[in-house]
Symmetry: C2
Subunit: 307 residues, 2 copies
Amino acid sequence: MRYGVIGTGAIGGYYGTKLAYAGKEVHFLLHKDLEYVKKYGFSVDSCDGSFHLKEVNVYGNTKEMPPCDVVMVGLKSVNNHLLKTLLPPLLKEDTLVVLIQNGIGLEADVQQMFPNVQLAAGLAFICSAKTEPGKINHQCYGYINIGNYSCKNQQIINQVIEDFRAAGVDANEVEYEEARWKKAVWNMPFNGMTVALNTRTDLLLQHPSTLQLIKDQMMEVIGAAQACGVKNINETFADKMIYNTIHMTPYSPSMKLDYDFGRPMEIEYIYTRPIKEARKAGYHMKKLEMLEAELRFLEKKEETKCV
Amino acid sequence: MRYGVIGTGAIGGYYGTKLAYAGKEVHFLLHKDLEYVKKYGFSVDSCDGSFHLKEVNVYGNTKEMPPCDVVMVGLKSVNNHLLKTLLPPLLKEDTLVVLIQNGIGLEADVQQMFPNVQLAAGLAFICSAKTEPGKINHQCYGYINIGNYSCKNQQIINQVIEDFRAAGVDANEVEYEEARWKKAVWNMPFNGMTVALNTRTDLLLQHPSTLQLIKDQMMEVIGAAQACGVKNINETFADKMIYNTIHMTPYSPSMKLDYDFGRPMEIEYIYTRPIKEARKAGYHMKKLEMLEAELRFLEKKEETKCV
């Protein structure tokens, strides 16, 4: 099995280096860090055991990369349009592309670009950051769920899961639609609300008015999921997410980090698309619509500030 | 007709001094400005013609004030609990109390404190600020609508309107419920959204996502009003409010000024009460509920910051 990684950041970099460190063949597309990693390799500071990877297959262009059996995409979803040119050199007839990204509608859009490619969702539950060139800081969690979107070859999904497990990464197969919506139950409230109110997950849950609002928003995601045919998520799941988050280390979701560092926010796939899908199914996520509008306003404000 | 003013700020101060300057007997309750105004009187810089009022009846305590025919309350509604002790010395058997304040539920609460007092709403359409002690800066507009809440004596309402007009203030009687809800159509979206997104009315209307959100929120107020029995407000009114605001000088609503200067925000009567009233009538203002939750969070954050 030959792996490729497009978008070697905190997430793609972590899962790719774990596989490589376990002896798998992994090829990384790098951008800014290319020269550094060519010279010094990757350093992974990890709560599960730190390691250094000296010899790595790194490239500045996918045209130089070999065709792969599995391509893991760790790009920010705002850059998914780049896949149109980045992905083709890596594709064989039955390549599996795993989108390790947040949101709803990602696989549908990539499938439209590449009607014949086999796709899966990679749902990463991990706190990880790329702090310096070639340096990945893995703080906690780390498991990954794989949801089959359009892969006809079950064998290859099983192999990916086996390879992850052999590399010390807890991996499991999950039902695609349910898994994407379940992740949205956490992502939709917390990513945007920490930006809109310039705060942290723990403070949102300490104040009764925002605790209720987060719960309301989670129930909107669950309502949307049910309208879209995913029946197996209910209020208990929302309560569990809130309970877990209260007992989690205070945390800045990726959108908050993006906003704070002036990077584009993943509003499209985390908000706009699920809101649209739900509306098509007759369900209106009113509070999350409002949050989307606030984020769109703040995104514009941010741009104006930077000019 | 003897007038009293409780809460001699930008609004109460403006309407009181207009009446006094026209020769009416007006008694003002003052707090911080008392000594200054005793010595120098009031200066009103006004777009309708500036004036100075040298001799003024000012007091530091309502116990020293005479009973009045009409009491105008210009307090911030967060201080309405003070009326319990402030108001009694000014009341005669048929005193009319006019609450020149923003929100829904104000008259109901004051009526509960004083079951026999005659009440009216004063709906002020004015841009005015108290910039220094004894100085009122009236920038534009200035008309006031009076809505009868529990006044059995129509005569006195007519007289108030006549006195205002004689003083150069455009005044009219309006239907109470309809007028309070109509004002909420503007107040509920703009007061909170300028705080939540730290912005101005014009910028909110320039961005398509917040323009739509403001419209949605206005439609929620209209839906609530209709559920509460006020049938005479519809989408045309919302569109007119938006049109007027686009063509208005960029403006910071009072709640934005309160927030920026670290003063308590009038969340209770501008949000919590109308949301509660609507819900009792079976209507959920979902986006405005979310805005209320955001404001409650920001209010707390602000307090914490100041400690």
